[in-house]
């Protein structure tokens, strides 16, 4: 009897030691759920907060082109230490937090990962270039990492229910749409394989742009936009910037776009829509998607319609 109990204890101990997180660089085995995690992308921050295990540190600095925590997430980021920008996080700040695991982006942090591995084991996921499905899989793996797999599954189930509801709003006859991020000096098309593009395809809205030279996002000029001539155009901008499209809108070609003629040019916050990429961001996006009439292919109105430049 005692022997059996002992065996059971040993077995359960083994089971506890069997936290296995599959990621882009292999499988990480942990004896116990990670409590001190440092994350280097916003989607990882969003996911861990949604799981109720916020990271101890995150790359939420505002140096070198980074814009910090997206507005929708700001009020929920409490007690998370900044470790600098996503591109150049401070190794010293990460070391000082004594993390058990660091979650990095497979592509963005490729050259940094060997150095990070000397601080703590690194889990790498494709966040920046990942599709909606990729990011959902990462939610499960991160749930496993922090011992909240059940919550992760529940998050995804709730999300799936929301998606179903949203899909009911989508107009199946709507023409393909073009999604693009506009900054003061660039206009970057997000294709059907980007996070936001694949999320919209999931909801039944086809994306006009397909990847080129294996790039899920690429820049075009006004002439390229006119050549694509989308029937629906969605631009992601920041309220504190003057995006390049504001200047383009002065060109008569802008009003010739089919999207302009149909009144289907929508404008959303680029930090909320393209940088969060986690379960909380998805919930936020779905609400705005329905609210704006974009899913139903209704004319853009009010806060969601493209702001024409003042002449």
């Amino acid at each position: 009897m005692i022997n059996r109990l002992l065996a059971l204890l040993v077995l359960s101990g083994l089971a506890l030691a069997q936290i296995q997180v599959r990621h882009d660089l292999g499988t990480l085995s942990l004896g116990a759920p990670a409590k001190r995690v440092v994350v280097l992308e916003y989607s990882f921050l969003d996911t861990l907060i949604a799981l109720g295990v916020p990271p101890v540190g995150a790359a939420i600095g505002t140096q070198g082109g980074d814009r910090g925590v997206p507005p929708y997430l700001r009020s929920r980021v409490v007690g998370v230490t900044s470790v600098g920008s996503r591109a150049v996080p401070s190794l010293e700040a990460i070391l000082a937090l004594q993390p058990q695991v660091i979650i990095a982006d497979t592509f963005v942090h490729r050259d940094l990962i060997p150095q990070l591995q000397r601080i703590a084991p690194v889990v790498a996921f494709s966040s920046r270039r990942g599709s909606f499905d990729d990011l959902n899989k990462q939610v499960v793996e991160m749930g496993r990492l922090v011992g909240r797999e059940a919550q992760a599954q529940k998050l995804l189930q709730d999300q799936e229910r929301l998606l179903l509801k949203a899909r009911a709003f989508a107009n199946p006859k709507a023409p393909p749409l073009l999604l693009a991020v506009a900054t003061p000096d660039s206009f970057t098309v997000h294709t059907n394989e980007s996070f936001i593009g694949s999320l919209l395809e999931h909801l039944g809205r086809k994306s006009l742009a397909k990847p080129q030279n294996n790039q899920t996002q690429y820049q075009v000029g006004l002439e390229g936009l006119v050549a694509l001539n989308p029937a629906t155009l969605v631009v992601f901008t920041a309220p504190d910037e003057t995006p390049v499209v504001r200047g383009w809108a002065r060109n008569p070609l802008w009003s010739r776009l089919e999207a302009a003629q149909r009144g289907r040019i929508y404008e959303f916050d680029r930090d909320n829509w393209t940088r969060g990429r986690g379960p909380l961001a998805t919930r936020f996006i779905l609400a705005e998607l329905i609210d704006s009439g974009l899913l139903a292919d209704k004319p853009a109105s009010g806060a969601y319609s493209f702001k024409m430049p003042t002449p």
């Binding site: 140096q63 000096d185 690429y218 820049q219 075009v220 390229g224 060109n251 070609l253």
Partner: protein
């Protein structure tokens, strides 16, 4: 007509160069993201009929091509004049640090004097260019003026000013976002607005350069000879240097720093029509414009639909050329 025997087909060279310029210009407005047949482009050029394609040609491709041609002409002539004035085959706005000085001055104005009117950009750029040139010159004077030392000092000062420009771009990110150009130099997305910024400076300066070309000839003979011929060396040098820096500043203010074009073009021009600056300067304008148009064309075709900054492409051609010229000088010495 001193060199008319050795460089007999001057007229032919000019005709060919003009042909090249026209061809480059037509190519530049013919190719782009939208597929418009060549014959349609050329018809739309003269008979715009309000279609999308006509608007693409007239509001996007034409201003970009004109900016590219003007920038190329300015840099080519600025290089030719600087080479003549300093009697230094390695002189040009990029190597002499003038471009970097112009960039830094524009950024400083943008960050610390954001209320300056837009038209003053060219003046600000020229002031920065003069500052850099004076700095390079005084550094070299203190160790003895030789062409290679001048170039070395120019490259060092240029790197230093470039670092300062990067510093401003990073530290005052929010304020420098409005800057027209990237530090790699490009004419992508330039509009008629940029043409009108550039034109009032570039055209008079280019014409003045033609008028001054004989004086540059005299300076290129050496100070003593020029003085012996009754030239007011200091005045002419001051005027023509200012003009060369103004040309470079005008180019930088709309396209950012584009190096080496001003080095390669005058060498090619001298190779074709001989050392007479009355012929070298106009030919440098034509060849500079053509090279800039063709490079910009290549820059947008290399990684379509992505735009490669044209400055990087020209530097790729120009850096080996610098080594070639410097080595040839060493052999001659």
């Amino acid at each position: 007509m001193l060199y008319s025997r050795r460089f007999a087909p001057t007229l032919l060279v000019y005709l060919l160069a003009l042909g090249l310029l026209v061809l480059s210009f037509l190519l530049a407005i013919s190719l782009g993201a939208a597929n418009i047949p060549l014959d349609e482009v050329w018809r739309l050029l003269f008979y715009p009929e309000g279609s999308n394609n006509a608007l693409i040609v007239h509001t996007l491709r034409l201003p970009r091509a004109i900016v590219a041609a003007l920038v190329g002409a300015c840099l080519g002539v600025a290089g030719a004049m600087m080479q003549g004035i300093t009697r230094n085959p390695l002189s040009e706005p990029g190597i002499m640090g003038v471009n970097a000085g112009a960039v830094l001055a524009i950024l400083v104005a943008l960050v610390f004097f954001p209320d300056l009117p837009p038209w003053s950009t060219v003046v600000v750029a020229a002031v920065g260019g003069v500052g850099a040139a004076v700095l390079v010159y005084s550094i070299t004077l203190s160790v003895g003026l030789t062409p290679v030392r001048l170039a070395l000092a120019g490259i060092a000062v240029g790197s230093m000013l470039g670092a300062a420009a990067s510093f401003l771009l990073i530290i005052f990110e929010d304020r420098t976002r409005g800057v027209l150009f990237s530090l790699s130099g490009s004419v992508a997305g330039r509009t008629w607005e940029h043409v009108w910024t550039l034109l009032p400076w570039a055209v008079p300066a280019l014409l003045l350069a033609l008028i001054l070309s004989h004086q540059v000839n005299l300076l290129s003979l050496g100070e003593d000879v020029a003085r012996g011929l009754g030239t007011r060396v200091e005045v002419i040098r001051l005027v023509s240097t200012t003009l060369a820096v103004l040309l470079a500043g005008a180019a930088v203010s709309v396209a950012g720093p584009i190096g080496f074009l001003g080095l390669m073009v005058p060498h090619a021009a001298r190779g074709l029509v001989g050392p007479d600056y009355r012929r070298v300067i106009p030919l440098s304008a034509i060849l500079g414009a053509s090279l800039m148009l063709l490079s910009d064309l290549a820059a947008r075709l290399i990684d379509k639909p992505l735009e490669t900054p044209v400055g990087i492409l020209i530097a790729g051609l120009g850096a080996p050329f610098l080594v070639y010229v410097a080595r040839r000088m060493a052999v001659r010495d």
